[in-house]
């Protein structure tokens, strides 16, 4: 395998894997909405309607 191919492959695979893991971890770390927040949103929605 040529050096240029190896560099492109490793950098693209590394980049895609890093970005995918970054977003996945970010999703998992966001705390779920509390009942209070959900209630407040529902109230806002019903007021708008």
């Amino acid at each position: 395998m040529s050096t240029s191919a190896l560099i492109l492959m490793v950098s693209v695979l590394g980049l895609v894997t890093t970005i995918t893991v970054y977003f996945l971890v970010k999703v998992l770390r966001v705390p779920p909405k509390t009942d209070e927040e959900l209630e407040r949103e529902e109230k806002e929605d019903s007021l708008q309607e």
Binding site: M1, S2, S4, A5, L6, L8, M9, V12, L13, V16, T17, I19, T20, F23, L24, K26, V27, L28, V30, P32, E41, D45
Partner: protein
């Protein structure tokens, strides 16, 4: 309009279902073939540019459209698009979002059934000791291909086992769909996606580390040669419009945009739920499967045993069934069985997570507009899919299968995406659109995307649509120049066989419907088109009835 009680059980479940919708057979079979046919390493640059300026914006647009429609009680595209534009035409534009899925799911479920069957065959070691020709013939026999068609009778394909497994696969899909989003689709995605990635990693490691296989008389039989060809940058091909179009096309198909499935899934989100981060996570997960896993399996392994020249000439979708089992055989019975199960298993999971997504827009529409229960809508969906699928099975060799793929799996996507991006950016307006994309977002969406979504993405898609419409025989720079030269000197255009205009008017074909009193392939192709047009018109009529029902209900409330 009935109020839907369905919904997602968890955020990760939604993301895996969305990623499963996007990850399909094309990630493993279409992407590497496109890369091979378009300059190897150079393909990745236009591919990434297309992802950034067309793929990501379309994901955000479709997620935003879905959530916007969903909070107004619409869970399928006709009334999602209707709620975003004032003109009546938009709800009929939204018909594409159901029609495309019905068309694709019909032949896709059939392919999915092949992967299920081949997983079972791999477990049973059915391919052990077979030559490449025998493996290829085994597939032809499985789908009932005759090879040459008779001009005295209609050669109907009646592959008994393939039909039985297709019915089982369809029944599995219908059963899961009848269980709803959190009880069915989400559970499958939570099991299927991790398994798919696990199987993919196993095969990708094998593909990368295979190296020189020592096949006698073959100097290029080395997986590293395949990887080198895939990844060696050739920057000269960046000036070739054919490569750019192929890359943009691949982004289009791999993300499952322009189908209506993303809107349908996102319609079950709440008003302030995040869509920007969710869309990015699902989109990048698809890219991981495609680039990291998809590129490391078929091409390197095939080059490892068949050589580079053979792969350049034969790379295509059917390699999955006609060649891969033979290649796995070279690894001995145990590894061949494990690899066969991993390969066809991952294709099955990639397929089923996509076909489940394709079933939901029709069900969402019937439940919203006609108050159907989930069980009823899933069974009716199954009957429609069966009716639409049988011609693709029986007249497989007459091109019915390809006809479905072309019109619903290619043209329809581009048409719908073109119209939806115009609707979102220009009719609904970027002010409202930006508010929809960013509301409740867990990431900061770069403001440059306001400009990209308004200008670059529509132009990008319109260019793809126009070039698909008038594609000349040769699509490199010289080919386009020569086509325009021919137009201005002779007043003619060298239509490519698969350009939309050439397909509609059969420009490069002799129009013959019967030969010796026997229907020709063209007859069956046009019958397939008639069936698809009837489906579209039937769905449009349902939308018309639903619209009248809504008007009547509104009048009753007002009075």
């Amino acid at each position: 309009m009935a109020q839907s009680k369905d919904g997602w059980g968890s955020r990760i479940g939604l993301i895996l279902a969305m990623a499963g919708n996007a990850v399909g057979l094309g990630n493993f079979l279409r992407f590497p073939v496109q890369a091979v046919q378009n300059g190897g390493g150079a393909f990745i640059i236009p591919y990434f540019v297309s992802f950034l300026v067309m793929g990501i914006p379309l994901l955000w647009i479709e997620w935003a459209m879905g959530r916007y429609g969903g909070i107004k009680g619409n869970h399928s595209t006709p009334f999602i698009t209707d709620s975003m534009g004032k003109k009546r035409i938009w709800k009929y534009v939204g018909v594409f979002g159901i029609f495309t899925n019905l068309g694709i799911i019909s032949y896709y479920t059939y392919i999915e059934s092949w992967t299920l069957s081949y997983t079972l065959k791999s477990i049973g070691q059915s391919f052990t000791g077979l030559s490449r020709a025998q493996v290829s013939t085994a597939f032809d026999n499985y789908v009932g291909v005759h090879g040459t068609l008779s001009d005295r009778i209609v050669d109907i394909n009646i592959p008994h086992w393939a039909i039985v497994i297709f019915l089982i696969t369809l029944a599995i899909n219908i059963y899961i769909l009848s269980k709803g989003l959190s009880g069915g689709i989400e559970k499958v995605a939570k099991i299927g996606m991790p398994l798919l990635i696990l199987f993919g990693i196993f095969l990708a490691i094998r593909g990368i580390t295979l190296g020189h296989t020592g096949v006698a008389g073959c100097t290029t039989c080395n997986s590293q040669v395949g990887l080198d060809f895939l990844w060696k940058p050739d920057f000269t091909s960046l000036a070739n419009p054919k490569v750019w179009l192929a890359a943009a096309g691949q982004i289009f198909f791999t993300l499952s945009v322009g189908m209506g499935t993303i809107q349908c899934y996102a319609a079950y989100l709440k008003k302030n739920d995040d869509i920007a981060l969710n869309a990015m996570t699902a989109g990048w997960m698809n890219e991981f499967v495609e680039i990291v896993l998809g590129a490391a399996i078929v091409i390197p392994i095939a080059v490892g045993y068949m050589g580079l020249d053979w792969v350049k000439q034969n790379a295509g979708f059917m390699m999955a069934f006609k060649t891969m089992p033979y290649l796995f055989n070279q690894w001995g019975p145990l590894l061949a069985t494990l690899s066969g199960v991993a390969w066809f298993g991952l294709l099955f999971f990639a397929g089923i997570t996509s076909s489940l997504a394709m079933g939901t827009p029709f069900m969402g529409f019937m439940e919203d507009e006609f108050g159907w229960k989930r069980g009823k809508s899933s069974i009716v969906l199954g009957i429609i899919v069966l009716i639409l699928a049988l011609p693709t099975i029986f007249f497989f060799e007459y091109g019915v299968f390809n006809e479905y793929d072309y019109w619903t799996g290619t043209v329809s996507l581009v048409v719908f995406a073109t119209l939806e991006v115009i609707l979102f950016s220009w009719v609904f307006g970027m002010k409202n659109g930006w508010e929809e994309i960013t509301r409740g977002s867990d990431i900061k969406v770069p403001t440059i995307y306001k400009f990209i979504i308004k200008w670059i993405t529509p132009i990008f898609i319109i260019v793809i649509f126009i070039t698909s419409l008038i594609e000349p025989v040769h699509t490199d720079m010289a080919g386009w120049q020569s086509a325009f030269h021919q137009l201005f000197t002779n007043g003619t255009w060298p239509w490519a066989n698969d350009s939309i205009i050439a397909q509609i008017f059969h420009l490069n074909e002799k129009i013959v419907y019967f030969k010796n009193g026997v229907p020709t392939g063209m007859f069956f192709k046009d019958m397939a088109r008639l069936l698809l047009i009837s489906t579209f018109l039937g769905l449009s009529y349902l939308v018309h009835i639903a619209s009248n029902k809504r008007k009547l209900a509104n009048k009753t409330i007002e009075s």
